[in-house]
């Protein structure tokens, strides 16, 4: 694990620096870092602190927590196809945002859209806890998540379907593709507390996930409280996914591909995978956010589109490569 982190953390740092130096204003990296850290006169410190810094911070936070939550979900469900979106929280957060756009609430004040998305996420979590309470089985949790996703997805489609306003409809469609463009420090401060709580909850699950490698009965006999473990995984994932979706829209594939890709690095152990996957998720989202700006500087290529576009074929490649091992 330490070796993987020794490679990934410098990579994350380098990508953060590169991302900070990218933008319409052509400024060298040392110059932009100096403006960021020391301030000074002119527009550059403002550009760095109010435009580029939030973008990098959000990529770090969202990518890192998606990697972490993906590893936690896969470890808890003992299924490499699990991902943070499985709980239906991201779909519900998206529905909240869509309703805000459609009703015009999103134009009322700056944080109206992310706040309605958070409200959608909270409603989803409450339903999840009622449906998949302390006595529920793992399967109940998955089915509840699938049902929530389906309902939220259908309602989102209904809003689009009945939208009398083509501008609102196209805004909804673009928002749902996920992006980190034009976010401010306000978005960072809004997401930060939820993500901090989520990370704290997920930080304590490594031991339980390791034990779950041997199945629920064996884990339970080794002193793991399964009901508590499930609550931590569900609430932790919901917090980070809800907050992430609220400020950046739906960004797929990071939480699925990254844990899968890095599993071999930690010898398959789900506990150590958590932190390696968090670092990997941050690196992947930073790289993707750099790529959207390099590939199409003036077309506003959406981040979620790129992560899926790059992630899915890559995933296919992994499946292709591992097909021999499973036979």
């Amino acid at each position: 694990m330490t070796r993987a982190l020794a490679f990934l953390l410098p990579l994350v740092l380098a990508l953060s620096a590169l991302s900070l130096s990218l933008g319409p204003a052509d400024v060298s990296l040392p110059e932009s870092l100096r403006a960021l850290l020391l301030g000074g006169d002119g527009p550059l410190p403002l550009v760095m602190r109010e435009i580029r810094l939030p973008r990098v911070l959000l990529a770090l936070m969202i990518g890192g927590t998606l990697g972490l939550a993906g590893a936690a979900m896969q470890g808890y469900l003992r299924n490499p196809l699990a991902e943070p979106g499985l709980l239906g929280v991201s779909a519900s957060a998206a529905l909240g945002a869509v309703l805000a756009i459609q009703t015009g609430v999103s134009a009322a004040f700056a944080l109206a859209l992310p706040l309605s998305a958070l409200a959608g996420a909270v409603v989803a979590v409450l339903i999840l806890i009622v449906l998949a309470g302390p006595r529920a089985e793992t399967l109940t949790l998955i089915l509840a998540g699938v049902a929530l996703s389906a309902v939220a997805g259908a309602l989102t489609q209904l809003v689009l379907n009945l939208s009398p306003n083509p501008f609102a409809a196209s805004e909804i469609v673009f928002w749902m593709m996920g992006s980190l463009a034009d976010r401010s420090m306000l978005h960072v401060w809004l997401a930060l507390p939820f993500m901090a709580v989520g990370v704290l909850l997920l930080a304590g699950v490594g031991r339980g996930l390791d034990a779950l490698t041997l199945g629920e009965d064996a884990a339970s006999s080794m002193g793991i409280d399964l009901a508590r473990l499930r609550l931590r995984v569900v609430l932790g994932t919901a917090c980070v996914v809800g907050a992430g979706t609220a400020v950046a829209g739906a960004i797929g594939f990071v939480g699925l591909v990254v844990p899968h890709l890095l599993r071999g690095v930690v010898g398959g152990r789900p506990g150590p995978l958590l932190w390696v996957s968090a670092a990997g998720g941050a690196a992947m989202l930073l790289a993707a956010d750099i790529a959207v700006r390099l590939v199409a500087p003036d077309r506003d290529l959406k981040l979620g589109v790129l992560t899926a576009l790059v992630g899915a074929p890559f995933f296919l490649h992994l499946v292709w490569r591992s097909r021999g091992e499973r036979a």
Binding site: R78, R207, D210, A211, L212, T213, L214, G215, D217, A218, S220, S221, M222, G223, I224, D225, R263, G264, G267, G268, R269, P270, E325
Partner: protein, 245 residues
């Protein structure tokens, strides 16, 4: 000193009474074989004893906190589940989890005892069924508990692996541990257990030395079979022959 004591234990699953009023004590240096037909409640008895499912009556283990219990008993469920391709040595190290230490000595001892030295760097999901069973048993040994409980530890193993597994339990008992296992193979049970407990008809039919439990009458009542039996210099031999009429 007893390692496990059950008093009037009863289990009801989904409205069906599985068994009731079972009292049982297991001490050190014993290999106790839990036998009985399918559905008699062997697995439920062990899970209830561990406190993994609700039950009536009392189990000395169910009253412990999960952390205390994990230091008192190691449990091997029948399903040999290994979810991720972890190295064999990492799998065995999971036995140290309840102790919260990374002690290498018990892990190395368990690897040596199960003859896993040559497999320690292999991915456990790539092992054969017999090798996985050995790795999982090594995990339970690394937990270093006074009592070991295993559900059908010999199921699906070839005769050599079955004998080797039962011999490990014998060694454990000789070292002062107590062992409780459910078994379907009466011959194996008679040969390797110091004591048998026959579970049938929703209760404990017999509890005692193998010869005292595997009588013609109890085999007919409990399993509905007749068996050939003989005494050999190596101990008693039982071979199920016919269904009883």
């Amino acid at each position: 000193m007893s390692l496990l004591s059950l008093e009037n234990l009863s289990v009801t699953l989904r409205g069906r009474k599985v068994f009731s009023d079972i009292s049982l004590t297991i001490g050190p240096r014993e290999v106790v074989g839990l036998i009985g037909p399918n559905g008699a409640g062997k697995t439920s008895l062990m899970r209830a004893a561990l406190g993994l499912i609700p039950s009536g009556g009392r189990s000395s283990l169910a009253g412990l906190t999960p952390q205390q219990r994990a230091k008192a008993v190691a449990w091997m469920p029948q399903a040999r589940e290994i979810a991720w391709p972890v190295k064999v040595e990492d799998l065995v190290s999971l036995g140290r989890l309840p102790h919260g230490d990374h002690a290498q000595a018990p892990v190395e001892a368990a690897i040596a005892k199960m003859g896993l030295e040559g497999l320690r760097k292999r991915r456990s999901t790539n092992l054969s069924g017999g090798e996985q069973a050995r790795a999982l048993l090594a995990r339970a040994l690394a937990q270093e508990t006074p009592l070991l409980m295993a559900d059908e530890p010999t199921a699906g193993l070839d005769p050599a692996h079955q004998i080797a597994t039962m011999e490990v339990f014998g060694t454990l008992a000789a070292e002062g541990h107590g062992v409780l296992l459910s078994l379907h193979d009466i011959g194996l049970a008679a040969r390797h257990c110091t004591r048998l407990v026959l579970l049938a008809e929703g209760r404990l039919l017999a509890d005692g030395a193998p010869e005292a439990v595997l009588t013609d009458e109890l085999l007919a009542r409990g399993f509905g079979i007749t068996a050939y039996h003989a005494q050999t210099p190596d101990g008693p031999v039982f071979q199920p022959m016919h269904r009883a009429r």
